[in-house]
């Protein structure tokens, strides 16, 4: 293997090593860490053993079935191989990952009750402010557990449940959780799904009853603050018949000189004629291995829309999957991926058509610069019974220099003649003419290039609420200015 493309150790210069943080100015908006006292946190030992799993389960007061589930997942994890087809992850040493770090403060429903250093972290990320301005409910996870969860009364009044998964597991919705938990993403799906099943902690549960409409979004924000730790939150959303929900997921972490791991899992159940929009702005730090699994299943006439912005992490494997089970169900995936220096981001989507007259649409933009590697990988599968189905895939890649690499790896598997599939991909560079035109209007070259890249990513940003679109454009600007 070429040295260039081997998984390299996390590279932090000497001055950055002093405090374990990247220097201010580069990505300071996300790369901060509030002073914490060790005694405020509980954590298990490094590594992955049966004892560690039992410890996590005890700490979380799991029901018995969940402990058994975790132990079985651990067995499956040990029996499965690391994928041989994606970016290398040999820099990830599970023997040195702490899989559970719990703030001792517990979960609060008022920001005032959240410990100051944690509250400050979320204030810097703008979460309480966003909650006041534009959200119907917020969940905030710090390391392995939620520290804050709240939902607006008018949303609750519709019967919508938005809570942390642990509470749901023990309360009124315990049976519903058991019925759905890791049924869409079984633990034997792949090695990191099994890992998730063994050590999952945190995450959100949403249940939208028939006919309910959550007109402003719910948001969960995941912050991983502990160096060398893993975050394994589980998001379970059930949108019942005719209901409508927009859910936003955000994530970030400060950068350390050791590897961190994110192996979350998202399971979305979209009922008959229901609609779910799931938006993500992912900005993990560049020492993160982001091995996340997201999957949705749609019943008759249901719609799932994925909006995805992937900016952070050292290595990503991320392919949100839509299973179009019900006749006439529909899925859309709109995504942008920006791979900068030291990043190898393997992202895309999967569409599985099972029902008749199902439709899917994939529209992605990949950008790479400063030696970043961006791979668009997808699958459109149309099974024999999915007659009358239609799928359209459109992927574009923009290379900003010749140090970087951009690949598109789209697979199609069509098992009926009663389907229409169209696929188009383009790869290229920023045109000199466009840069020249903008510069002739008094715009600097850097700004001109950033504007062109933002325009290229516009299909995603225009689908996001204004605040998040602004955040995404800031991220693009920041990426264009660094490296």
């Amino acid at each position: 293997m070429s040295e260039k493309y081997k998984d390299k150790p996390i590279d932090i210069s000497e001055d950055k090593k002093k405090d374990g943080l990247i220097s201010p100015g580069e990505r300071e908006f996300y790369d901060f860490r509030e002073e914490e006292r060790d005694e405020d946190f509980y954590h298990v030992d490094e590594g992955l053993t049966e004892e560690v799993i039992r410890q996590i389960s005890r700490e979380k007061e799991d029901p018995e079935w969940m402990l058994e589930f975790r132990l079985n997942a651990l067995k499956v994890y040990k029996s499965l191989e690391i994928p041989d087809w994606g970016p290398p992850i040999d820099g990830l040493d599970m023997d040195h990952i702490v899989t559970y770090v719990k703030p001792k403060s517990g979960m609060k429903t008022s920001w005032e009750d959240v410990p100051e250093e944690i509250r400050t972290a979320f204030e810097k990320l703008g979460i309480p402010q966003a909650e006041r301005a534009a959200l119907a409910g917020v969940g905030a996870q710090y390391d392995s557990e939620l520290v804050y969860h709240n939902v607006r009364k008018d949303v609750e009044a519709q019967g919508v449940v938005y809570t942390d998964l642990e509470s749901a597991l023990k309360g009124e919705y315990a049976e519903m959780i058991r019925e759905h938990f890791m049924k869409l993403v079984p633990v034997n799906d792949h090695k990191f799904a099994a890992l998730h099943g063994a050590v999952w902690s945190g995450g959100s549960f949403v249940y939208a009853p028939p006919g309910s409409k959550v007109e402003i979004p719910l948001q969960s924000y995941f912050r991983l603050n502990a160096p060398g730790a893993g975050q394994f939150e589980h998001t379970l959303i059930i949108v019942d018949e005719g209901a409508d929900v927009h859910f936003i997921e955000g994530c970030s972490a400060p950068k350390y000189n050791v590897a961190n791991l994110h192996a979350g899992c998202v399971e979305l159940f979209v009922g008959k004629n229901a609609h779910l929009r799931y938006s993500t702005i992912e900005n993990w730090s560049k020492n993160m291995y982001n091995l996340n699994t997201k999957r949705a299943i749609c019943e008759e006439g249901g719609t799932i829309e994925w909006i995805s912005g992937s900016f952070g992490s050292h290595v990503s494997y991320l392919y949100p999957t839509s299973v179009l089970k019900g006749d006439g169900s529909h899925a859309e995936f709109t995504g942008v991926t920006f791979a900068g220096q030291g990043q190898n981001l393997d992202t895309g989507a999967k569409m599985i058509h099972l029902g008749k007259n199902t439709t899917s649409f994939i529209d992605t933009r990949s950008i790479c610069k400063s030696g970043g590697i961006s791979t668009y990988r997808s699958l459109v599968e149309i099974r024999k019974n999915a007659k009358g189905s239609k799928a359209s895939i459109n992927c574009g890649s923009l290379m900003l220099d010749s140090e970087s690499r951009s690949d598109t790896v789209p697979a199609m598997d069509i098992r009926t003649d009663q389907a229409d599939v169209g696929h188009e991909a383009k790869i290229g560079r920023i045109s000199d003419e466009a840069v020249f035109y903008l510069m002739s209007r008094g715009i600097s070259e850097t700004e001109a290039r950033a504007m062109i890249v933002s325009g290229f990513a516009n299909p995603v940003s225009k689908e996001l609420p204004l605040e998040y679109a602004a955040e995404m454009n800031n991220l693009i600007k920041m990426e264009m200015e660094t490296g």
Partner: protein, 379 residues
């Protein structure tokens, strides 16, 4: 040697569950080295010899290059071959196994036409291999024509083309083998500065087809224009791997695939545009157009673009369609039966590529083959 070979490897791996990273070819017992085609008379400007040690010949002419670095847990097609072909190193191993030497044709002149007629008898199992070396400024048309007597067998044919500076090669492969024959059709082409290759592959017979092509565009300004048409009747299997590797500046490559799939046919298509560092100004364009004519088809495709050069442009497009009810209604309202309408659509797909064949006798042979296929008796 294991009788199951991995062939047609994807340049970049993807999910194993899709079973498209490579194909499995089971080669028959008693596989023998081919004796070559019935030789046409060679013009004076073509020199023929047998290459017993192909690798030594590659080395002697500087064609041998370091086995390539692989990328991010991915491997390059060329990694296991001195002179890469689409089907990959397994085919070279097979040639060695059956002791097939390479027929070398050194072409030094212009306006040269060569036609090789490969005929197979029932029960034949042969591997043939040829190298076409076009000296600088040469121009040639090479036709390889595969037919057989009714029956079954295995036909393997590996061609390599080294097209030197300013040379131009039109290579046409027309396969009309009986349906019970397995056909393994492989090509590797290396193009130097301003070289041109027009490759036409017509795959009409054989119900089990493996095809590969690797276009290695080292030379600045080199051009590849490739067209493939295939007919996959009921119950047939088609597996192909085409890679256009752009290395030189201002290289251009187009690949067009036109396929017809009837019910219970299976097709795996691997189509890659691979832009290597330094190929500034390169342009690659690839299109696949499939007409699915029946149910229970397995139609897999993976059209990839790999890029490590900023200053290039690549595009691919795939359309999978069927005879639309509106079109059918329109035709039927004009007195055209469904069967005739379908036949017209198939002929149209195949015709997109067959019109590139510069030989009237061969295009007539294609028409006759299609007439027989459609059961037209009065041709």
């Amino acid at each position: 040697m294991d009788r199951m070979l991995k062939v047609n490897p994807l340049p970049v791996l993807t999910w194993n569950k899709q079973k498209i990273n490579a194909a499995e070819l089971i080669w028959p017992e008693g596989l023998a080295a081919g004796v070559g085609p019935a030789e046409s008379e060679l013009p004076e400007t073509v020199r023929f010899s047998m290459l017993e040690d192909a690798e030594a010949w590659y080395a002697q002419h500087g064609l041998r290059y370091e086995k390539e670095a692989v990328v991010a847990c991915k491997y390059a097609c060329a990694a296991d071959q001195e002179f890469p072909t689409g089907m990959g190193g397994g085919v070279d191993a097979l040639l060695k196994e059956c002791g097939a030497g390479m027929r070398l044709y050194e072409i030094d002149g212009r306006g040269i036409s060569l036609c090789f007629d490969y005929r197979y008898a029932d029960g034949d199992a042969r591997m043939d291999s040829a190298v076409f070396h076009l000296k600088p400024g040469s121009e040639a048309t090479v036709i390889e024509y595969y037919t057989g007597e009714p029956g079954s067998g295995f036909a393997g044919s590996v061609a390599r083309a080294w097209v030197e500076e300013g040379a131009s090669l039109k290579l046409i492969r027309l396969q009309m083998l009986p349906e019970a024959f397995v056909f393994a059709d492989d090509l590797g082409a290396r193009l130097e500065k301003d070289a041109k290759l027009e490759y036409t592959s017509m795959q009409l017979g054989s119900r089990r087809l493996y095809a590969g092509a690797y276009f290695d565009q080292w030379g600045e300004g080199s051009e590849v224009d490739s067209g493939m048409a295939y007919l996959a009747p009921s119950g047939s299997f088609v597996d192909y791997n085409y890679v256009d590797c752009f290395r030189g500046k201002d290289t251009k490559g187009t690949m067009r695939f036109h396929g017809v799939m009837e019910e219970r046919s299976e097709k795996n298509a691997r189509e890659t545009l691979d832009f290597r560092k330094g190929c500034t100004g390169a342009f690659g364009d690839e299109e696949e157009d499939i007409l699915a004519m029946g149910d229970d088809v397995v139609n897999k495709a993976i059209p990839m673009i790999l890029g490590e050069e900023e200053d290039m442009s690549g595009r691919h497009a795939v359309t999978v369609g069927k005879l639309s009810p509106e079109m059918l209604y329109y035709m039927q309202s004009r007195g055209i039966t469904r069967k005739t309408a379908e036949e017209m659509m198939i002929r149209s797909r195949i015709g997109q590529v067959s019109r590139r064949i510069p030989d009237a006798d061969l295009t007539a042979a294609v028409e006759r083959y299609l007439d027989t296929y459609f059961g037209v008796e009065d041709y």
